[in-house]
């Protein structure tokens, strides 16, 4: 334990040696970790929102009133027999009217003017996989009982693919910046090792183990990275907390993300950062401290 004194003291002495490089490393790790943290959180938020929709109604078929209700029932049965369909709900004119009244209860003028008769009967379809909405549309085309089809799947699909593109491009940038951090660490450590060549030689002669000689370098790399990631994660949490109460939450959708997801993400990021620092220091001093 006494021996750690030397290691910890020298970790800080080494870091003070190249302050600009150390700050650059921390910033690079910070940006990289922040990108990872925020985009993964964003994706989780989008997934939470879409999964809600996924439990809801995916396709609405408005029925033509000129066709008999027997035909409506038949259509419902056909739909229910499709393997992609989980549930079909028959929504009558009066149910549509009740819903309309609830939705627009704040606008009594509107309610007075509307001719409720134009509200059509509809089949509300819940799919096993919302992406299958196209199949339903294809099959229903030309059906005499169908007046109009609306699908929410399209919006979801677009949003998910947008999120995936976002995650992918952010990952690429995070990777590039992470690589820059990696190179910065290697260079910082090598500069220090070179400057301390004589000290290291003396330590070897005295009988210091190579692990002991390496530890300040390993600690430095891990500490720099951890500081970067910690700040990034802190900013990320703050950002999400802020978004929950901001206009984004009102205008687009609920910022629903569980604390356990964020905690796990944080822990995984911190753990990866330690591995990253360890690996970078390993590469950085492998050759330099070998003789």
């Amino acid at each position: 334990m006494k021996k750690l004194n030397y290691v910890i003291k020298n970790t800080f002495i080494n870091m003070r040696r190249n302050p600009l490089l150390v700050i650059a490393t921390m910033l690079a790790v910070l940006v990289s970790s922040f990108l990872v943290f925020t985009t993964l959180s964003a994706r989780a938020i989008v997934e939470n929102n879409t999964s809600r929709w996924q439990n809801g109604v995916h396709v609405v078929i408005f029925l033509d009133d000129r066709v008999t209700s027997t035909a409506h029932k038949q259509l419902q049965e056909t739909l229910e027999n499709y393997p992609e369909v989980r549930m079909v709900e028959y929504f009558t004119k009066s149910e549509a009217m009740d819903e309309f009244k609830i939705l627009f209860k704040d606008q009594p003028e509107l309610l007075q003017e509307v001719d409720f008769d134009i509200l059509p009967t509809s089949l509300r379809i819940n799919l096993n996989n919302p992406a299958d909405y196209k199949l339903i549309i294809e099959r229903m085309e030309g059906n005499a009982a169908v007046k109009e089809i609306r699908a929410s799947g399209e919006a979801i699909e677009r949003l998910l693919s947008l999120t995936n593109t976002l995650v992918l491009s952010a990952s690429i940038f995070a990777g590039l910046i992470g690589f820059a951090a990696f190179i910065l660490i290697i260079n910082t450590l090598r500069l220090t090792a070179y400057a301390k060549k004589k000290e290291i030689k003396i330590m070897r002669t005295i009988g210091a183990s190579s692990t002991y000689i390496r530890l300040p370098f390993i600690f430095e790399a891990i500490l720099e990275s951890l500081i970067g990631t910690s700040i990034a994660v802190g900013l990320g949490w703050g950002f999400i907390q802020y978004s929950k109460t901001s206009f984004i939450a009102d205008s687009i959708f609920d910022i629903t993300i569980s604390d356990s997801y964020l905690t796990n993400l944080t822990l995984i990021l911190l753990f990866s950062t330690i591995l990253f620092g360890f690996f970078a220091s390993f590469v950085g001093i492998r050759r330099v401290l070998n003789d």
Binding site: K2, K3, N5, Y6, K198, E199, K201, I202, M203, R204, T205, I206, G207, A208, S209, S210, Y212
Partner: protein, 225 residues
């Protein structure tokens, strides 16, 4: 304490530093290793602390089989040895005191022990007046004594000194020798390499002589002609 059996050292490229050296040194001895420049003295000392590995033969130092010692165990060997290299290796940006306490710090002593032991070592090598000076403010003899003090930090069983009087005038050389003899009397085995015959002849200790990498003589209370 030291046993060499048929030890040879050939460098890559074929230059032979030592050939077929066999000898033994017991606990408590004071032994001079003499020979002209290039005769293999430094190489022999470096073999003892595994800075070099023998090409052939077997080496035993402080009850450790050095020849088969895996590299991760080299520190264990070195902690039992005090090593004073041919060129004084002092850190330029640290005082005498700090250069010595550095070794104790690396060896894992706590702060109180470091201060006590450093002061004791400084007293032993008589550097009280230079303890806050930096290496470039020290004379050659003082630098060597600082190196000896540092080498003693781990309470070594065996002290290896490579030409500690190398560039000192006779008076200062005698000072160093007296110091090493004092350390020897306190129980540390000492092996000192030198090419300075005048010292060796006066002190009447055991002398091992190397010539072109061969051990050519081994005399008790020796003289060096």
């Amino acid at each position: 304490m030291i046993r060499l059996e048929d030890v040879s050292l050939v460098f890559q490229g074929g230059s032979v530093a030592l050939s077929n050296v066999s000898t033994q040194i017991s606990e408590g001895e004071f032994v001079y290793l003499i020979g002209h420049s290039g005769s293999g003295k430094s190489s022999l000392l470096k073999l003892l602390y595994k800075e070099y590995s023998a090409t052939k033969g077997s080496i035993e130092v402080v009850d450790m089989d050095v020849t088969s010692l895996p590299s991760w165990k080299i520190p264990l060997l070195r902690r039992k040895l005090g090593i004073v290299t041919q060129e004084p290796q002092l850190l330029e940006n640290r005082t005498t005191f700090e250069n010595i306490s550095f070794a104790l710090e690396v060896l894992g002593f706590d702060e109180k022990e470091i201060n006590e032991k450093t002061n004791t070592l400084i007293e032993l090598v008589d550097l009280e007046n230079s303890m806050y000076k930096f290496p470039n403010q020290l004379s050659g003899g003082e630098q060597t004594r600082a190196c000896i003090a540092r080498a003693l930090a781990s309470n070594p069983l065996l002290l290896l000194c490579d030409e500690p009087t190398g560039n000192l005038d006779p008076d200062l050389s005698i000072q160093i020798i007296s110091l090493l003899e004092k350390i020897n009397r306190a129980g540390t085995t000492v092996l000192m390499a030198t090419h300075d015959s005048s010292i060796v002849n006066r002190r009447k200790k055991r002398v091992l002589q190397l010539s072109n990498g061969k051990l050519v003589s081994d005399v008790e209370k020796g003289r060096y002609i």
